[in-house]
Amino acid sequence: MNTLVVDQVSKIYGEGDQQVKALDQVSLEVASDELLLLMGPSGSGKTTLLTISGALLRPTDGSIQVGGSELTKLDDKELSKFRNDKIGFVFQAVNLIPFLTARENLLVVRSLGGGKVDAGAKKRAEELLDELGLGSKGDNLPSQLSGGQQQRVAIGRALMNEPAMLLIDEPTSALDSELGRQVMELIRDEVKNRDIAGIVVTHDERVLDFGDRIVEMVDGKIT
């Protein structure tokens, strides 16, 4: 069963002579428990496709369905709620709130949209931290964690609300080979164990063997 269905999606930035076509009638499907690696040169539209699939950006044209919900029909408020409920994001640059501990970075997801940080949330955060090998680091602030540990906390935060889809942008760009492979292994295991769809945008050819499928983009099109 496909979790993500992207159908003839285009995204144009700017107006008139300044128009840039970031996505050009892209179609893509990602099944649950499938890990897709999205590759391509800079400016090829990978991040745009990732953000449109994650309900962060609206397409100019086409249709996006995640878990059967048509994202183009949702208003801003509904998109926010959808992101919180259904999408797990791990961004390349910004991932953790510096004044919250590792545990609190996971719990904050549950406090959004009027949610409560109850005993169930605390239990899930502990389970995730244990699973990610961070059981003893729950009280550490991000500044007290290594790059790899921060990346794992970010993955935990993305999984906190049991999303239907995990979207990860360049997870290994700041990590050495060994740590990069460990993180990719973790992502693959989480996608498989939780039966969710996963898309990883990467330039890192060292981790290509972790994907179920590799899709390459050039000039806003899937090749």
């Binding site: 991040t47 990732l50 953000t51 962060l56 950006l57 408020k77 926010s80 709620k81 959808f82 992101r83 919180n84 409920d85 999408i87 994001f89 961004f91 390349q92 640059a93 910004v94 991932n95 953790l96 709130i97 510096p98 004044f99 919250l100 609190e104 719990l107 904050v108 997801v109 406090s111 959004l112 949209g113 940080v117 602030l141 935060r157 993305a158 942008d169």
Partner: protein
């Protein structure tokens, strides 16, 4: 609440500094208000607490009781005006009296202490029944110094305090309410010759149900060479009151402006500093309310805690200095000031809130930084 409380806890030093700054400003604000209140009360208390509904002045005195001179007989003319129940002469002047061997400046108010010349209420003792008896009132800024039963010597007369009235002083000086004859004797003794001592003003009590404003107009129409003011107008017309009030109002305004700027700038800087966190929250699905709420909670916490600390310190300092300083704070003054500081703090956070609302969640996907 989840985010705000944790941010405050992790940045305790930064928030403590701002709370300290707000507390200092609130302390100054309340301290100035206590001083201004006491100073103004020392000037106006006697008029505010007067039993007279109307004060009648010499028309040339520009409503200043200190320079007003009226023949005692004017009281009879005023009594004839419709709506006037009682009218009596009031003499008002500063004298040097002797108390326990030391000279002391006092205000002597001469008139019928049981009629228009007396204070509305006395808190201790009784009203005078003899010429050598007085009701005493003190300006809080002038300190205590006199008690029930104390005697001062004025122009060879021993005057005994038989009653005490609160907050009914004139000219920020110890004030003695005596019979007009006692006042007249002091005036002639000071002048060194005998003459018919005039009144300073005429105090008027109006008939039950009569409108003091109407009676005031009637007095000015029917009695030549006088002006008349209702008691509230007489308070405002006292020399120096307007200037003092205006000066302190400028100080209050400056302090309120500083509170607003300090709070506004702090939260604006804080918002810019944590822009990445706010972008991340919006990107992972936080509705706008979830990023606004922490700012509002933090503003209320900072100005609330700052106001509380400032109020407690101001109250404590004023209490400690009560014997030498005498200024006091009323609950209503504290409530109004703290309420104004909280409202201004919230208004000051508008800039920070606008920045928060302008956050683009898409910024989380940019490598080069966050734009807010």
């Amino acid at each position: 609440m989840f985010i705000a409380l944790r941010e405050i806890r992790r940045a305790a030093g930064r928030f403590s500094l701002l709370i300290g700054a707000v507390a200092l400003l609130v302390l100054l604000l309340l301290f100035f208000q206590a001083v201004a209140g006491s100073l103004t009360l020392g000037l106006t208390g006697g008029t505010e607490q007067s039993s007279s509904d109307i004060w009648v002045y010499d028309a040339r005195a520009r409503n200043n009781p200190a320079v007003s001179v009226l023949p005692v007989g004017v009281a009879n003319a005023v009594t004839e005006v419709e709506g006037v129940a009682v009218a009596g002469p009031i003499g008002l002047s500063v004298f040097v009296a002797t108390f326990e061997g030391a000279e002391v400046e006092v205000v002597i108010l001469g008139g019928d202490p049981g009629g228009p010349a007396g204070p509305v209420e006395i808190s201790q003792g009784d009203r005078p029944t003899a010429p050598n008896e007085a009701i005493f009132s003190v300006a809080s800024l002038a300190g205590e110094g006199f008690e029930l039963g104390d005697q001062i010597e004025l122009a060879g007369q021993a005057i005994t305090i038989v009653g005490v009235a609160d907050d009914a002083a004139f000219n920020v000086l110890p004030t003695f309410y005596v019979a007009f004859e006692t006042y007249a004797a002091a005036v002639t003794d000071r002048a060194g010759s005998q003459f018919e001592v005039p009144a300073s003003i005429i105090g008027v009590q109006v008939d039950d149900g009569a409108d003091p404003n109407v009676v005031t107009s009637a007095i000015e129409t029917q009695v030549s060479g006088v002006t008349a003011l209702t008691r509230p107008d007489a308070v405002n017309a006292l020399p120096g009151v307007g200037t003092i009030t205006q000066s302190f109002n400028i100080l209050y305004l400056l302090l309120y402006i500083v509170v607003t700027i300090v709070t506004g700038v702090f939260f604006l800087i804080l918002t810019v500093q944590k822009a990445q966190s706010l972008v991340l929250l919006r990107a992972i699905g936080a509705p706008k309310l979830d990023v606004i709420k922490p700012v509002l909670i933090e503003v209320i916490f900072v100005v609330g805690a700052g106001s509380l600390v400032g109020s407690v310190v101001a109250w404590g300092l004023l209490r400690l200095s009560r014997d030498v300083f005498g200024a006091q704070l009323g609950a209503s003054t504290i409530t109004v000031s703290v309420g104004a500081v909280v409202i201004l703090g919230l208004l000051a956070s508008v800039g920070a809130l606008r920045r928060v609302l302008a956050i683009d969640p898409l910024g989380a996907t940019r490598k080069g930084g966050i734009q807010v």
